[in-house]
Amino acid sequence: MLNTLITPHNYPGKLFVVEGIDGSGKTTQLGLLAKWLTAAGHRVFVTEWNSSALVKAATKTGKKKNALTPMTFSLLHATDFADRLLYKIIPPLKAGMIVLADRYTYTAFSRDVARGVDKQWVRDLYSFAVQPDLAVYFRVPIDVSLDRLMARRVKLKFYEAGMDMGWSSNPVESFRLFQSKVLSEYDSLVNEFGLSVIDASGSITDQQRVFRDMVSRSIEPPAKAHEVKS
């Protein structure tokens, strides 16, 4: 079985991925990175986890009725991913663009396994994915992420807090229990898939500096269209 997730791709574009639990600040970091890359003249495309129109209906129905099992949850997200991979990720990579993915297969590897889906099965499932040029894991303690979510007055969502597992009827307690398992799965992915780790409890600016350093090591400066040779 071909496993393209662990085989370098040959597309002219670059794929950069951010990972981390809710409240790790990865979306903020990705947004700042996109600004910087765009300002430097790169053509950038951003794609988010679970955002394809195709499976939105099913995810919504399932979430509303709390009808998703760990397995259907996993397969729906894989369907969404496959749809985005083929329509949103591979075409810009072929066109030589930079694709920024807010969560990637590693989210499935940590969340689905935390829900009790078999570890090897979910890795086989995603073996059709494209290997990122860089995958950065924003590592943060549960308490810091909870403080951030609370400060933003975010209402903890049913599945994000792992309420479907029935471990606690208190959303905060459930979030703590579930996300702790997700965190320990993430930690084991660092070596397995060579994720780069950024300490996400530091300042936003410090993290962004480290992130930009990592990214600049794997891209060449864009060809300047206006540069005239004299």
Binding site: M1, L2, N3, A53, L54, V55, A57, A58, T61, G62, A67, L68, T69, P70, M71, T72, L75, L76, A78, T79, A82, D83, L86, R115, G116, V117, D118, Q120, W121, D124, L125, S127, F128
Partner: protein, 244 residues
């Protein structure tokens, strides 16, 4: 890569093919799964209706499950089919999701409660269709590693020409049954024959692997039903609650 953990033959009926659902143990469930496989328009639903009647008269509780009938996925699959946004990979994954939903919500609870589950198509249709469409055969078998091996799998066998005549008599060829998504051309009759011929070949290649019991679909409805009842009766043996 653990090659032996996918949906392959040699698995004890009533057990998971591969990794299964680690959070859901199904050991010693009293129910039975009987799957009827075969391509489109082959007469599966007629046979299942007759079987259900016969089994219930003999005192067995029967639950039916059919392809793409899960409440969770049916609307999505319909939308996706009508809007042509499916590619072979999302097609395959949506079907797997539909199957997973029915497995956990219908099939496993029925097995636990001692029902006979009559499956109008099982995972084999999905595996055959994916194979024809160029999906990695090992990958699709790994994917369905969470399925339970049926106790009996019957395959209604036919050749592409006889099938074409039967489907035309029934009311015509449909877009998906003709593999039109594979974009071979606009001639639906030729596409139907080419596609179904490939599909039948794929099913045939799976017969030994998954222990299909072959039935000649060109025989009469009654003759096929008699054969089904004979083999199922033999399998269920003397534990029929109907025997006095």
């Amino acid at each position: 890569m653990s090659e032996d953990r996918g949906a392959h033959g040699g698995v004890t009926p009533g057990h998971y093919y591969g990794h299964g659902l680690p959070y859901l143990s199904i050991d010693n469930y009293p129910g039975r799964i009987i799957a009827i496989e075969g391509t489109d328009g082959i007469g599966r639903s007629t046979q299942i209706r007759l079987l259900r009647e016969w089994l219930e008269v003999r005192g067995y509780g029967v639950v039916e499950t059919g392809w793409t009938r899960s409440p969770l996925m049916q609307p999505t699959i319909e939308i996706a089919k009508s809007s042509n946004t499916l590619n072979k990979l999302t097609f395959t994954l949506l079907y797997a999701c539909d199957f997973a939903d029915r497995l956990e919500k219908e099939i496993i609870p029925a097995l636990k409660a001692g029902f006979i589950v009559l499956a109008d198509r099982y995972i084999f249709t999905a595996i055959a269709r994916a194979g024809v469409r160029g999906i990695d055969r090992e990958w699709i078998r790994q994917l369905y590693g969470f399925a339970i091996a049926p106790h009996l799998t019957f395959y209604l066998k036919i050749d592409a020409d006889a099938l074409a005549r039967r489907v035309l008599e029934r009311g015509g060829m449909d877009y998906w049954e003709s593999g039109m998504d594979m974009k071979a051309g606009d001639d639906i009759y030729e596409n139907f024959r080419t596609y179904q011929r490939q599909l039948l070949k794929e099913y045939a290649s799976m017969a030994d692997e998954f222990g299909f019991r072959m039935l000649d679909a060109k025989k009469s409805v009654n003759a096929i039903q008699d054969e089904l009842r004979r083999q199922i009766g033999e399998f269920l043996g003397s534990d029929s609650p109907g025997r006095m």
